[in-house]
Structures are given as structure tokens and as C-alpha cells.
Symmetry: C2
Subunit: 326 residues, 2 copies
Amino acid sequence: MNRKFLVVPVMAILACSGTGSADQLSSWTDGAAKSAIIDFVDRVTDPAHTDYRPVDERVAVFDNDGTLWAEQPMYFQLVYALDRVRALAPEYPEWADTDPFRAVIADDREAIATFGMPELMAIIGATHSGMTIPDFRATSRAWLDSARHPRFDRLYRELTYQPMVELLHYLRDNDFQVWIVSGGGIEFLRSIAEEAYGVPPEQVIGSSAQAEYRDDDGRPRIMKLPQLGSINDKEGKPVNINLHIGRKPILAFGNSDGDFAMLEYTTTGDGARLGLLLHHDDPEREWAYDRDSHIGRLDRGLSEAAVRGWVVVSMARDFGVVFQAE
Amino acid sequence: MNRKFLVVPVMAILACSGTGSADQLSSWTDGAAKSAIIDFVDRVTDPAHTDYRPVDERVAVFDNDGTLWAEQPMYFQLVYALDRVRALAPEYPEWADTDPFRAVIADDREAIATFGMPELMAIIGATHSGMTIPDFRATSRAWLDSARHPRFDRLYRELTYQPMVELLHYLRDNDFQVWIVSGGGIEFLRSIAEEAYGVPPEQVIGSSAQAEYRDDDGRPRIMKLPQLGSINDKEGKPVNINLHIGRKPILAFGNSDGDFAMLEYTTTGDGARLGLLLHHDDPEREWAYDRDSHIGRLDRGLSEAAVRGWVVVSMARDFGVVFQAE
């Protein structure tokens, strides 16, 4: 028997199907959370196990803000929107006297802190519409390639959680489809998701504005409109999961009560299922917040996780590393 | 050099990536349409060709009614809806006196023939809502597994076009993502798309109703509502292609002016692109209709195809076989 003859097909097979190994999770500390993940993946990928799932059922969904990257002191996309108001202000002189734009331009932090949904919608509408999809993505991406986080003095886009990025790769290498299901804007996320997470645009679900197809001048294009399309938060998450994926996931990972319905939907039903919540309990390396936070509030999820069998991942204990190396 | 050593990795590579061969298109006659398809696929999959496209850009979109399966004398889903009205009538005695339901129950074909959008919406709303997604799919599927087409006395689901099914396989084997982008209902299609076409639920785009997540009784579920969500026709097609796929396709195949915007969007822009229209010109084996048809009207597309470089596929000449063998 020729030894090389044996080695080559084995390597080729590895290149085709499940090559995921727990060694890929090197930024996770050894503990209950890492074990629960590895155990689940081992079971659903082992054809001899009663929990085995064929490849097409291996659908995993991840929230983004606070789950895959940081969300403090403000959602990154909101920082982007405020920066866009300032960048666009010279084109809209009337904004200087019109709230909420006035407050943003004047950096009136007291007023900004009181913004509710109407103010935010006005700002998103004004900064996220009136351009084509590729133009919007290019503008988002240019901001993500240059804007720096005040606390860490690093690019916002670098504040992805290294253990989570490893988990996405590990799942994909075990033939999972990995989807992002974010309350943030679908096109904002698509501008960075492939590079940051290896998630292609067709596997990004997010909040969306209405859009319009125009071909009036020989340049067919899709324009973003100011009107709201879908808010992909809370009960909107399972609804949009069905619209886009059309299958029930078997793994869901979130960090806030905005993800409660997604975890509940994912973890009820037949067969092995896994729900996970990232608990922000690491004020030194990141932040500590849960039940009383205005951003990423985690109250009901924390109270019901044990009964529902959801794994609470402690950033302080389970993340050996938080962010990617500088 | 060991000869086996050379053969094995080549076979292994073929198992991983593009194995599509023109031999798969055996139900197409040799002619301009088949040549245009093969030539396009050869160019975009040849790394040495200037038209080469990496795998992630190989996105192909297909209309369903009249493109992948027949649509005469009535859209199959509409036949389903009318059958559902009759099946549900005993539960709704008031329908016997209430149009449009009365006309359907009484089989008043004259009245049915006058139905416009309001009547159809009332019928779709009444028959396509008030159940969970899995229940709706099961009901659709049971109908597709039993209802027979009046002209051919075959199951409606068997009236897929054999050359088109071959084309979907050929494209997938050349590492294309194949999406269905139908004016029909997304959940109706998902009940059959994987089996009929090999298209998984996450690659089906269609018209949709609004939906609601409910967890009031410990059985979390998504309910279909009667309110319209999105009409996936005409300009709605490129908008929903962007929402679901987030990339511009490079190949689009339709059969009516409802597909015009999808073809226009797909075939404008950089690089090699292919638009195709199936022309129903075969009254013996199928039907002949185009500019004056109420169903699947093809007028502007037929007029502009030559100038736009779209391939008009003649069912009479280019399809060696129309439907799968009985």
C-alpha cells in the first residue's frame, strides 16, 4: 500500500466537510460554557449520536451588538449616524436650528441623552436614506475604517470579541450556516460582516428601511428611503428569521432581552438545541451591565436562563481574551 | 510517479468544486439558447478568462410561475386558494352569501373570471392566514401532492420544466447560488422548492404576508396574518433581491414583464451578465402566449430583449422535452 495514496484523499475529504476542532476556541477559557458548546457541536455532528442533525438543519443565529462586538457607551451605528449628521450639516443649514439635528451639531450632550425613538428615527432617516445601497455601504465602511472608540482608542470595527469570532469559524467548519440577526441596520452590517466575521451578505438579517427600485436615467439602482421597513428586535427577530431563513435555528446566541424571543424560538421544539447569553460582567476589560442598563438590558433572560437551560457566558470568566490583539 | 496518486486528488477536487458539465442539459436542444448558457458559464468559471467571477459572485435568480413550472390556465397557487375556500366553507357558513367566497363555492366561473386584486386579496387573506408557518406549509404540500392539472391530468407539482430543473443543477454544480424570486407566496413555494428544484428555503424569495410571533401558551410559534407584507413582483423583485441576498445577481431568468426589473437590474453593471426570458410559443406541448396574455404577459421584455442582449428561449425550439417524464 502506498502511504501517500492514503494521506491525500483524507486531506481532500477534510477540505470538503466538517473540519471544526475545539482547538479553534483558544480564546475561551476551559469551563462550563466552552464545554457546553463543544458538547453540543459534537453531538449534533456525530452521525452515531441520537442528537445528530443533518447539515441543512445546522442553522446558528447570532445577535451582533453586545454579542459579536461591543455596544457601549452607545451602539456603534448610532455613533455613525451622529457623525453623519455633523458631516452633512454644511449641506443642510436649516439643521442648525432644528432639533434633534441642532443638538447633535452643537454636541449638546444633555439634549442627546434625552433622545427617544422619534429623535433617533429622524436622525436615522436623514442619514441613512437618499442614496443607493452600494453608496450607503461605502460610506458606512469608510466610517468603520476610520472612526475610533473613545475608551480604547481603537477602530470600532476592531472591537469584535475574539472568542465569538473563533466560535463562528468553529461552527462553520462543522457545517453550520452562521447567520447574524441584529437589531442594527442590515446594510450597515453588510458593509463589514464578511470581513469581520466571515458572514456573507445573504446571511445578514437586520433592521431595514424601505427601498425603491429606480431606472429613470438608465442607471438601474436601489435607493434607500427614509421610511422604516422592519425593526429586527424582540419578537421581530423570529419573524425575520423565518422570512429570511425559513428554517428554525438550532443554536442562538444573544446578550439582551432583545434576543429573548430569538432564543425562546430557537430552543423550543424537537431535538438538541442550544441557547446562549453573553453576560457583560467584566468592567476591567469591557463593561459590566445587565438588568438596569439602557443599552443591552438583560433582565428577563438572566432570570429565566437557568429554567430554560440557556447557557450564561460570563465575559469575565469564559473569555480568555476579549478583543483581538492590537 | 504513481499513477493512482495523481488520479485520486483530482477526483477529490471535483467532489469539492465545480463539476457542472454541459451534458447535464440533455433536455435542451442544441441551439443558440443552450450555447449562450454554456458559453456564459464557461467564461465566468474559467479562472483564466477575463469574465471570470469568484464563487461568491455567482448568484443566479429565477422566477417561478411560467419560468420553472407552468402557470396556465391559472397560477397554481390561485387554484390552491380556491380549493381551500371550498375546503374551509363548512367552517364559514356566512361565505355562502358573501362574495367573493360565494362565487368560488358555487363554482360561478363567470364571476370568478372578473375577480380583480380586491377579490384575490380577500381570498388569499382568508386561506393563507391564521395558522403557523409549518401548518401552512403542510397544507400547501398536501395539496401539491394530490391536486391534478385539468389539461394534463398530472399533479401540478409535476409540471416543472425538465430543461429548467437541469439548468438549476448545472448552475449549482458550477458553484452558483441558485435563488427563486417569485411573485408567488414564499411559504407556498418553500413547501415544495427543495424537492422540486433542490432550492433550500433560505434561497426562496416570494410575496409574503405579515407574520406575528406568539408565545402566549408555552408554544412559541410564528402565525401568518392576513395583512399583506411584500408583493414580490416587478420593481419589488430587485428590492427583495437586495433585502435577502444583498448582492447583485449575474444571471436572471424570467418569462414575463413582471421579471423585467429583475432582468434589468441583473444585467446592468460591470462584468459578464446574462438575462434570459422563456417564451411560451408551444401550444402543442404547453401553451402559446405573450403580449396579450392576462397571465404572464410578456410585452416590453419581448420588444427590448434584442437591444438589451437578453436571450429569448423558445419553448418550441429550445426545449427538447418540456415536462419531466411521467
